[in-house]
């Protein structure tokens, strides 16, 4: 009998939050929700990203908000599970969130139809589907960051400049065998055709902590350059395997998913020379990061440990928060009295124009048609201690990419309903 009572008590405890009504929405607060994966797959990025996101919003609020209106960030964990992501989406929109940033490709893919129907801005920074850049088909899905296609194109363009001519050169694309890794395969083929290099692609099984079989094949191909396309645990493993199989460190390139802690795993000195795509300025020397340290972190209002401020993914979080806040500012300019709905915010987000956060970002312009914002970034090289930009802001082959975006978006439009 005691066990039954205990069970009933547990059930009642579990039901508590269901009954709790949301706090009455105060006037003049905008709610941004960041239900993200703190616990399962995206753990390598989420903590730092979310810390940067919240620190930037705190900076805005400390400075008096957007003309007196403050922003509230709702944080929760969805564990990369679609079910929990959907629940978090429903819960935060009920609680008044007009923007949701799930930072997970599976979750954001599953939320696309809901966001379009419910008119809630679904931010897919560095995640989600690349074709969401087409705002005419995906009005409420906003990547607002260079897609993986843009990142690959930029890096291949850098390699082309280094080599002068790519004809006859051998490039290997080693990627995680998930939709995320496979998504850029068509672009690689298009680029190989255009630039005339020899391409071989090598998938490894997720999550990627064991890749030795793949790399012995890569070794036989004797590539001039290797591009590693993964995220999280697979990335340092790829670099280590590449070095072990005789590939020159400075001929290893990747997209945005390489951080300081990945370099720690490889060995800071051993990894010297690795290239990556950078969406923001690197390090803690930019003005906005210095401002955050002075006005937020040093006043004890930071969302996490100070030594993480200015890391690669922290800065990406700052970028996402800055774009969201800039969108809200634009929306207030257009329509100062609201009502502050997802539709209202969408009008602001899609009129962001040449926003660069004092040089921290490339100039980003979002329009109702273009949700990517230019696809620009820098190429950064690991110097053994930190990431150092080796180029200026730039983008490449956007014509090919937009052709692909439009084609896939049209497919979604034709068959999605």
């Amino acid at each position: 009998m005691l066990t039954t009572i205990r069970a009933a008590a547990c059930a009642a405890l579990a039901a508590l939050p269901l009954l709790a009504q949301p706090v009455m929405a105060q006037d003049k607060v905008l709610k941004f929700a960041t239900p993200q994966d703190f616990t399962v797959v995206y753990t390598f990025v989420t903590a730092e990203y979310n810390q940067g996101y919240r620190d930037y919003i705190t900076l805005i609020n400390e400075r008096g908000g957007l003309g007196g209106i403050k922003i509230d960030v709702l944080v929760s964990d969805h564990g990369n599970a679609i079910q929990r992501g959907m629940e978090a989406f429903e819960r935060s929109t009920r609680d008044g969130a007009i923007l949701v940033d799930p930072l997970s490709t599976p979750v954001s893919r599953a939320l696309v139809t809901r966001a379009l129907q419910d008119k809630v801005n679904l931010i897919t920074t560095m995640s989600g589907r690349s074709d969401a850049a087409d705002g005419t088909v995906f009005p409420y899905v906003l990547p607002m960051s260079p897609s993986y296609w843009s990142q690959v194109a930029r890096m291949v363009d850098y390699i082309r400049q280094e080599e002068k001519d790519l004809k006859g050169k051998k490039l290997a694309y080693v990627y995680i065998d998930t939709p995320f890794g496979r998504e850029s395969l068509p672009l690689w083929e298009a680029l190989a055709k255009k630039d005339g290099f020899e391409l071989q692609t090598y998938p490894y099984a997720p999550p990627g902590n064991e890749q030795s079989a793949v790399w012995t094949q890569v070794r036989r191909f004797r590539p001039d350059w290797v591009f590693i396309g993964g995220g999280g645990v697979g990335q340092p493993v790829s670099i280590k395997e590449a070095i072990r199989n005789g590939i020159r460190v400075d001929r290893i390139a990747s997209w945005v998913w390489l951080s300081e802690s990945d370099m720690d795993v490889v060995g800071r000195a051993e990894a010297k020379g690795v290239l990556k795509f950078a969406v923001t300025e690197q390090g803690a020397d930019s003005k906005v990061i210095k401002d955050i340290i002075a006005e937020v972190v040093d006043k004890g209002k930071g969302a996490g440990p100070k030594d993480k401020v200015g890391t690669s993914y922290y800065n990406v979080g700052v970028m996402a928060a800055a774009l969201a806040a800039e969108g809200a500012r634009k929306a207030l300019e257009k329509n100062p009295t609201g009502p502050f709905t997802g539709e209202w915010l969408n009008a602001g987000l899609t009129s962001i124009s040449k926003f660069d956060l004092g040089g921290f970002l490339p100039p980003i312009t979002i329009t109702p048609e273009d949700h990517q914002g230019g696809g620009q970034g820098k190429v950064a090289r690991w110097d053994g201690v930190k990431w150092v930009a080796v180029t200026g802001w730039g983008a490449a082959n956007q014509d090919i990419i937009w052709e692909m975006i439009r084609k896939q978006a049209a497919e979604f439009k034709a068959t999605g309903k």
Binding site: T3, T4, P17, P106, P179, L185, A303
Partner: protein, 356 residues
């Protein structure tokens, strides 16, 4: 007390074999059914679409798995793959223009056929070895879906499901989806409740207890094991189709990975092998407890308790694990047995013991 047995005297075999011999249980069932029917009017959209709807759908799937695990004693570690087959075949059938009702049937049949092929392994092996064979099914189906663009939907690997139409009338939104799922759930539940009263159910039970002892009673283990896989996979396929049509609204490979299979097995075990009620309770605990716990921790955190963001993300998982282990230690036979203990206690109340 409420569970009064006194005065129940059967005058016919059908009366003795009825599903709910006790008056109180008939009343309870009626009440639950009535509540389920008017739930959309009672619950907020959040509770309906994020808690009740998935609970009903996952219960269908877990019932199908429980038929196999609890009913026939065959373990299945690839049940999410069975659901995936149903989800994809229904989606593609509906997109090709088949009516929704027929698409559900296609889902069930496709899952049943492929499920039986893998289930045939059960004829030779059992226990842990069968677990590995069904695990292979999980991986093979995962791979096939992920690498055949015609199934997965190409580069983006996400296929939106058409709006379900019942007799040509479109059923939109969570409320419509809820009613579709509820009807299927009621049908499957009635089937499962009646199973043990049929020769099929009794044959499965015999095979579960000792398959060679069943054979010498004239029960063909070959036939009934395959039938168990067939029926269970059929239910799983339909559940998968309902899941993507009424809840996810799109289908992608991540929805049906190994974690999902493990969760389904957990639902069945935590709920209680072979118990219909337990399946519902197990699905509720495994599915809803993480949601409710993270909401609980979040509301504690926002009410001023000093819970850091890291702890805030991990604490619900710790509590969730503790909850499952706690329930299983309190009652190793699952949640259904907890209810059964209380019921038995009340049956003999105010006396301490029944005559065995």
């Amino acid at each position: 007390m409420f569970y009064r047995q006194a005065g129940i005297r059967y005058t016919s075999y059908p009366a003795e074999r009825q599903l709910w011999p006790l008056g109180i249980e008939r009343v309870l069932m009626g009440l639950i059914l009535a509540l389920a029917l008017i739930a959309p009017a009672l619950l907020s959209p959040l509770l309906l679409s994020s808690y009740l709807l998935p609970w009903v759908i996952w219960s269908i799937a877990a019932l199908g798995l429980n038929l196999l695990m609890g009913g026939a004693g065959q373990i299945h570690l690839g049940y999410a793959a069975v659901m995936a087959i149903g989800a994809y075949s229904a989606t593609h059938a509906a997109r090709a223009g088949l009516p929704f009702e027929l698409s559900l049937l296609v889902a069930g049949l496709a899952s049943a056929v492929i499920g039986v092929i893998f289930g045939a392994a059960a004829l030779r092996i059992r226990g842990l070895y069968l677990a590995i064979a069904t695990l292979a099914m999980q991986y093979i189906v995962d791979f096939a879906i992920g690498h055949i663009p015609a199934i997965s939907g190409g580069t983006q690997a996400t296929v939106a499901t058409p709006t379900p139409r019942i007799l040509g009338i479109p059923v939109e939104g969570p409320v419509g989806g809820y009613y579709i799922a509820l009807v299927v759930c009621i049908v499957v539940t009635l089937f499962m409740l009646n199973l043990r009263r049929t020769s099929f159910g009794r044959a499965l039970a015999a095979i579960r207890e000792k398959d060679y002892a069943a054979e010498i009673l004239g029960i063909s283990a070959f036939r009934y094991k395959l039938m168990a896989f067939w029926t269970s996979s059929f239910i799983g396929g339909v559940a998968g189709a309902i899941l993507v049509f009424c809840y996810y609204r799109s289908v992608s490979p991540e929805q049906f990975h190994l974690e999902t299979s493990v969760q389904l097995v957990a639902m069945v075990i935590v709920g209680g092998l072979g118990s219909v009620l337990g399946t519902f309770l197990g699905a509720a605990l495994i599915l809803l407890a993480p949601l409710a716990l993270s909401a609980l921790v979040a509301s504690l955190a926002s009410s001023g308790l000093p819970i850091g963001s890291d702890l805030r993300a991990h604490l619900p998982l710790v509590l969730y694990g503790a909850l499952i282990v706690g329930f299983l230690i309190a009652e190793p036979l699952g949640l259904a047995k907890l209810y059964d203990n209380a019921r038995k206690y009340l049956l003999v109340w105010p006396f301490r013991h029944a005559r065995s």
